[in-house]
Symmetry: C2
Subunit: 249 residues, 2 copies
Amino acid sequence: MSGWVIIAGLGPGRESCITPEVMAAIAQATDIVGYIPYVRRIAPRAGLTLHESDNRVELDRARHALQMAADGRRVVVVSSGDPGVFAMASAVFEALEAGDATWRALDVRVLPGITAMLAASAAAGAPLGHDFCAINLSDNLKPWDLIEKRLRLAVEADFAMGFYNPRSKARPDGFARVLDVLREGCAPERLLIFARAVSTPEQKIDVVRLAEATPEMADMRTVVLVGSSQTRLIERAGDPIVYTPRSVS
Amino acid sequence: MSGWVIIAGLGPGRESCITPEVMAAIAQATDIVGYIPYVRRIAPRAGLTLHESDNRVELDRARHALQMAADGRRVVVVSSGDPGVFAMASAVFEALEAGDATWRALDVRVLPGITAMLAASAAAGAPLGHDFCAINLSDNLKPWDLIEKRLRLAVEADFAMGFYNPRSKARPDGFARVLDVLREGCAPERLLIFARAVSTPEQKIDVVRLAEATPEMADMRTVVLVGSSQTRLIERAGDPIVYTPRSVS
């Protein structure tokens, strides 16, 4: 039997967001590889080996998956959200490119998933309904100056924005700096959405104006969305709706 | 019975990309509203009325959906891809904000879907695996100068990019201009992906260098992805893999 690797997106949290093709891949797998909390979302069954690994060992995990596929196993690498957005797909291809030449002949595929930014956008209305960008605010793998440069240019372009990994214990000050950069280029009324644990039972969506935003509103389970200058708030009895119109006025 | 509107994403094409929560919403609906080819993806059944409408009547369609919900019906507005990305969610909220004040009390929700850009990225590897932006190249609803400005700033920020609606019969020259702008700021080796009819039986993924890209490679069924300066090509016997590494070198 020939092996394969499928890098699959589990979506942001709730089971009803996982696509049928991802469920089918998991049903056919012999091995599941991934970060501990994502592997724990997979139901154990006979014939399926679950390989949990810690954060920050993405390349080891990727090599392990590729080697198992080379040995004839059917491996699903699970990512939260979409595997192609700040997740495992790039790590697997880095490992493949740098690894054994025979790995290039392997059957390696990516199955998309609902990425956190778009689940957060749906939960709030449609704040990313016009041109937008996605920026990973972690400086583990890129210099902080590049993050600031991209932020300033995104503000100048008047993109709506989605921020991944806005804040961690190791980087408590970075997000405060991000808010400073936004305040230099945006009006105090600019709309921000702090979407925590989106699409899980603990989901919490907070809509605030830039003037009221504080660094403590974000943590590593939060995706932050920033509206463009055109983004609007519809007040109503329940949760407000935030959306960006299709036209530029 | 109280009515509702759910704006649901059908994903880019193949049925196995539609999430279970979207299928459940369709199963509970009394009415489906949408652009003709999207409504035709819904299986007819007793008790379900299908309302097809033409392109460019998004606001009429949105008002119709909201009025039916106000009358107690359970309405699903179907979008291709993700409804929050250049699709129906913003149109529904524009209609809601401008419409009858009682509409604000309606139960209106958005269910995300796999957007074309991320399906195209998965099909090609992981070209959007680092910071990226999404730009709608249609100038129906925004001035062309703004599109060019965003393009130039996205190049300066070294974002990977996803372009929606790159070319139509009404705008044959716009995409040629886009390629010119890219050539001013990017090396001739920059990687582009033309993903046509992604995730359908007619899917066609073409990977080319900027130097070889021509306007005719895109049409309205194509999503175009542009790598960042860091994006890499892995050559192999079958289709090549395009990915953007997680680190910036």
